[in-house]
Amino acid sequence: MVPVSYYVALSAILFSIGTLGVLIRRNAIVIFMSVELMLNSANLLFVAFSRLYDLEGQIFVFFVMTVAAAEVAVGLAMIVAVFRNKRSIDIDQISSMKG
């Protein structure tokens, strides 16, 4: 059996990739995908830890998936609305406010 620590390491790598993606990429959809990667790395961590303890971690994952789905619905709708207005989803271009 693969030790739990391997999963923990993998999830930390995924979380770092997600965080860096949010900070570096400029396309709203790619940023959004990076956020989803962060959520899913947490899910992996929950499932891995739940092998050490109880089923609670696995149950948490279902809640997170539901929340992520709700976020996708709102987020994509918003990105579409911005695209209709601006013909671009580059977040550097949709940045008119300064100060």
Partner: protein
Amino acid sequence: MTVSELGLLNILPILILVVWACVLLLLDVFVFPKREQVTPLLSAVGLVVALIYTIPQFGQPKEAFNGMLVIDGFAVFLNVLVLISGLVAVALSYDYLNRMGMARGEYYVMMLFSISGIMLMTSAADLIVVFLALELLSIPLYILAAFGRPKMESEEAGIKYFLLGAFAGGFVLYGIALVYGATGQTGLTGIVEAASGGLENPVFLLVGAALILVGLGFKVAAVPFHMWTPDVYEGAPTSVTAFMAVGAKVGGFAALLRVFMIAFPSISVDITPVLWGLTAATLIVGNVLAVAQRNIKRLLAYSSISHAGFILMAFVTYGDASVRPEATAAVLFYMVAFAITSFGSWAVVIALEHAEDRGLELEDYAGLGRKRPALALAMAIFMFSFTGVPPTMGFAGKLYIFRAVIQGEYYGLAVLGVIVSVISAYYYLRVVVVMYMREGDPETHSEGWLNLTTAVTAVGTVVLFIFSAPLFDWAAQAVLRMF
């Protein structure tokens, strides 16, 4: 599992709000012909009913869902505050939305959902509930921020708030996962017990707590996680900003206080220096950057950052068990003071705002003292309250915060707080100076609900100051059974 075993009756106010919001959403689509006029009234009715059921809950703490939710004095105090804030927000929004041509029924429904999220947040005694409540609070707020669509600034505010809010949610979630990994528990009391028994990987607990702090720091707009605040506050419809400024802060701080004070007292030695730095940065950056602002919405955004700093000041003492009840009560009191002053000042902003973002510059307030003396007086009261000048709630709030900080022996922080208060006097009083000393002819709106809100909050800011001692006693009683 019966209804009483789950404790569903103990969370009746939240259930009422959620069910009522769902019903309104359906009614909105199928029944009312002039629904954008009826829905605000009906959502206000829902808030009042929830309030009626919330107030008697003060007293013995109750549980729901096997202790995942705790309805104690802390939760009830904040729930009352949030429900009243919701009523004020509905009153603020009604005329504004009609005037700006944004009146749609879903607006109020989203607000009800967000309020139920905040109420869950104040009662959350389990990290799962903290995360779910955080998202229930935030997702409707993303939609509300973009409600001015197809106006570009509003959409931009929505997408910025959404991306950064979801980013912050990711941090909170990963933090929770690490805490679960360290302790095998997600319930707050379970975490303490596991932590006191010695942990195999204490570093997981520490990193997890730090990530939760980062995520919630985003929500309450603490520096260095504040970058979204000015843009979102400026771009979102003003009535939404008013609600967001209070609602998101109350929810975020409620979760921060409960999670850290109950679950993480064992690592306070490591967390406190970080909190100290966070607080100092928030106080300095919020106040210094506010000085440069000419747009009133951005000015109030930086002001709200600086007030998050003042609330954090009391939170720094969380590791000290002797100061903890006093500091928590001071935070509760400060949130009341901030809520009433903030709503009032946003009401004045709404009274001067015109379509296409006109009337939002500081210069547009010139001559207000002559043209609308009552409105200018109200704005002056709010600015004095933000600064912390008696006889206003802001003064009493700062007094209790500073008392808690000094009891906790964080003298450096107290001195810093006084210095930034002096800086803040400059930009708050500048608004008063512009209103009374400059010549000008500002265009204003005089609308029934808006005037009522302004009057009530202005009177409340002064009258509650007179009754600040009993109010603080109530807050102190509310946190008594928390620890």
